[in-house]
Symmetry: C2
Subunit: 350 residues, 2 copies
Amino acid sequence: MRSRSATSNDVARRAGVSRAAVSVVLNGSRSNVRVSEETRQRILAAATELGYSPDLAAQSLRRGQSRIVGYVRRSFSSIVYEQPIPYQIGTSLTRTAQKRGYHIIEVSAETHAFQDRKDLLQLLLSHRVDGVIFDWPSSESEVQQFVDEGLPVVQLIRPQFSIKTPCVTIDPSQGINEALDYLVHQGHRRIAFIGGGVSHPVDSSRLDNFVQASTRHKLAIPEEYLLPGTQYSLAEGYRLTNTLLALATPPTALFVASDILVLGVLRALYQARIRVPEEMSVISYDDTFAAYLSPPLTSVSQPFEEVAERAIALMIEGIMSNGTVQEAIHVVLPTHLTMRESTASPRRKM
Amino acid sequence: MRSRSATSNDVARRAGVSRAAVSVVLNGSRSNVRVSEETRQRILAAATELGYSPDLAAQSLRRGQSRIVGYVRRSFSSIVYEQPIPYQIGTSLTRTAQKRGYHIIEVSAETHAFQDRKDLLQLLLSHRVDGVIFDWPSSESEVQQFVDEGLPVVQLIRPQFSIKTPCVTIDPSQGINEALDYLVHQGHRRIAFIGGGVSHPVDSSRLDNFVQASTRHKLAIPEEYLLPGTQYSLAEGYRLTNTLLALATPPTALFVASDILVLGVLRALYQARIRVPEEMSVISYDDTFAAYLSPPLTSVSQPFEEVAERAIALMIEGIMSNGTVQEAIHVVLPTHLTMRESTASPRRKM
DNA sequence: TTGTAAGCGTTATCAG
DNA sequence: CTGATAACGCTTACAA
């Protein structure tokens, strides 16, 4: 039973005015209808007395827009700790959207048993979403199908660049430069890179930036220190670290391209009884749970909160401009190093 | 612009039938209307050709129920890692609900800027939720206001017991018993308890169960080993561990009442250069990210997935039984120990 | 078996 | 400023 909430009709009756007046007052519509301050107050009073809350479904139906934005997040794993970033972004997205009168519906392979790509489309279309935000879309067509529907689309972090939509991405260069400056300043010369793959430009750019920064410092990093990796996982970090430790001259510092990888790095180090930072310096990338590990990890922080804010701004712009083909704006946000306790000067033993 | 999706009318026209027929076919309604197999197929074909997806808002409006369930989660912190459980449950809730044709709208202090309690009510009421699930409601009135609206309410994990609603809770006893059996079996006698407070029965019961299990093993745990704590946080785990380490005869094993606490425990141990499990055995409670730490932690696993499933089942029952005052069913789920690598026999030195 | 018509709560329009 | 009225897309009696 939808227990009968008060309707705008009830409010109107109680305030002794017309439904139209109620509608105008309650959603500051820019109609040419003017309401006297006095009746205005009367309506507001009636609304709160009755605990009136507008029926979103009815509004959506009538207005032809739902004020709902879909957030499709990439996910391989149903375990929060293996994919923390989408959760974090989802939270920020929801909060930001709410401030502007929008709602987020979060959709992912974990939470929705999709038979195929069609189902995703159907679900979101059924909700009559006003637009869709993608976090690392898994294919072009996944994005394209919404563009084809004429819906505003915004892509985050790892866009399908072939599809021209507004994007919000993160530039790793500043953070990685700071990380290398810091390490070099502490006296490190033998710094290794542990990555999680190069399947997307965003991933390979972490390695590229690392290499650039290291040549800038004239470090002459040997090939065997550069491990691009194949996936972001604990197991991968563990494996790559062990490869490094088996080297004739292992590195004195590790730059690890994600927090998930670093879990594996720390495990390998722990098993080898190598202490951080005394015997090995470690810097991670992401700064999601880096601060919670032991020792608290120095990490390159990504501005997820701002990613969400910009994404919502872009999205609402897209919704407003309604058909007007907007330029595919590309917002790029910087990273920075957050220093904690996982680095130290290398031992001067060899 | 809500780009014109196909409507049921379009489908009807295309199939050359009435809107009524379309409705009947597309949602297997138990109406007494029979549709011939042939027209049935025709309608289905037309629907897929047009990419028809029903307008949820319109359905909601017409049916008088939204098929939306609110999930209000407790939250102090906006950081995922400090409050992993609500996220995990939210995901499971969404997945389970979807299988049964429901949608979850997740609401929390992090994601929604509520001025006061009223706003929460308003938001959910605006969505015309069919019911509300609470995870650790922060006050009686928070729950009561929805009960007063006549909405089905289900409480999870840490209910406000004073309000008679169906609940799904977790019984720690089995997991804690197994943990102590295991530790004792490995030769530990000096086992300490690190807790995160006793503000809710659920929290104090972890301590109670620990004490019971230890007396069952005739351990005679000294008072100073029993630290109920005041909050679930890294800092608290850190502080309590240091208290323990400062003791004349410190424990050889630590039972830690949550994963967040254990982060602080590991930090204290790491700083004190005490290795787990060689010099100190550690068992955590929750098993959220325990497996990702180093060493992988033996932990008491809570059945969050099943909590979500039962909660949805209870909720849908409540929605169906619609006014019929249902008995306040209380589902209690068991815990169990998941063994990993954070315990070992104590050193036989003293 | 199929078609018709009413109505869910809103907002917009248009004449008073 | 008010008051009717229509319409959004859908479901469901009820009539054909």
